[in-house]
Amino acid sequence: MGNRASGLHVRIRQVAPIPIDADLRCGPGEVLALVGPSGSGKSTILRCIAGLHAPADGRITCGSEVWFDGEAGVRRSAGMRRVGLVFQSYALFPHLTALDNVREGMDDPDAASARGAARALLARVNLSGLEHRLPRQLSAGQQQRVAMARALARDPAVLLLDEPFSAVDRVTREKLYGELAGLRRDLNMPVILVTHDLDEAVMLADAMTLVSHGRTLQYGTPLEVMHRPVSAEVARLVGLRNVFAGSILAHDRQRGSTFVAWEGHRLEVALRDRIPIGTRVSWAVPSSGVLLMARDRPAGPLDNLIEARVGRLVHLGDQVRVVAWVDNEVSRPMSLAVPRHLAERYALAEGASLRLRLRGDAIHLMPGE
């Protein structure tokens, strides 16, 4: 089955039917989350890896095997690639029992040992006793487990999971997360998990690649990508609401600060003296870096005080999501999350003026758009 030591390397380029410009890599035993909004091309990338779609150009290698090479004309069929694929819809064979579904995933389903091996795989995904049920007699979570067992049946060189948790309820999903986390300890192949859920990526993946409009935008650990986005586009994709444009005003190495000009404000952020003065930058601050400030309290180091007016209040359980218009300008909305009791203490109401504290150490600088 080839040398798995160097993992999976994927480079895909195509213009139609949907534009793809993707580079990704995934080591043996590593779980790589492919994260992006719906329609971003994640599933197409997965189909290219599985051999169900041939891109216009690129190269896909797994260990020492070349699965696809646009220039050299190499195009190995899906069956010859030895991938395990869990489809979003699971795509179980509806007329076959759970046991036979898993058996059909094996190299030799008719071998004497196949039934026993399929039983063992079903036991591994906690489905003992349900071997003879048809897919329609199983719950969505059980179907997902059958699909997982079938994907593992060939001892695949790569395991591909296409939004495998999207069709199950929350309780089942939590349970399946735990099962996958347990299962992956024994998996020594690259695992690619397609998801649009960042939390899922944080929980299950060692690394993630962010995809948008068919392009891979950033690779890193999930927390790295979420906290250190490389561009304003990535920042928005990982859910940062407060992304703005400014320019570098000055560096003060003694204070350990860099100053950013933004809409007449002078924001003090942690020192980034490699960025030349005058450079246009994008800056982002997570909601957690924007705090309400009592007017009588003095500002601390790297605190940036900003006057704003409450534009919108949304009550979400114990939290109140506040959109404040900085300098009373609708074009400068700043999002922050305030605990409900604090919102009550500050008597937050739409139209009320408030002072915000932007924590300079939470402000992240990126190249300008």
Partner: protein, 223 residues
Amino acid sequence: MDWPALLLSLELAGATIAVLLPAGIWLGRALAWRQFRGKALVESLLALPLILPPTVLGFYLLVAMGGASGLGRAYSAMTGRTLTFSFEGLLVASVVFNVPFAVQPIQRAFEAVAPEVREAALVCGMSRWRLLRRIEIPLAWPGILSAAVLMFAHTLGEFGVVLMVGGNIPGETRTIAIAIYDRVQAFDTGAAGVMSAILLFVSLGAITLSYLTASRFGGLRRG
């Protein structure tokens, strides 16, 4: 009651199914999943026997199989017999007028198989033969059975084409539909009635079997 005519009809229906069903599976599957230029024209040609008047179809088949045609001459040279007014000629005609009944239900059935189920089978590394045998045919089974039942019932009942191509030769080309006509012409309404009733019940039984199987397998297909 003309038992030889009923037997001949059953033989003709069986032979038609034996010839046309494998071809129908191949054609229906190809039409379901392949896109090619001129597909609409091919589909129209295959559906043509549905709307063509039986006498018109019969006339063209008579010309195509007659002694003056290449096919007719080749058959005569090989067997020393004429293709028209023979059981074999009737079988050729029966295959032609049954094409839409064979292809269309099978095509619809293959179209209804979820593409990702086939893709899952490909990813599993199944050979084409195993994919067809283990996945595609079992899932398209209701359509295949429908096609067989429709072919059977249609062959038993076809009159115009059979009369044009085969005439009314007892034991050779006289099918039960022709026999009913023959009995009515001879004012033997008793025999015509018995044979009509047999045809009615055989057809009803076949259609019922098709519906029953389709509903049973329908549940499986929905997974």
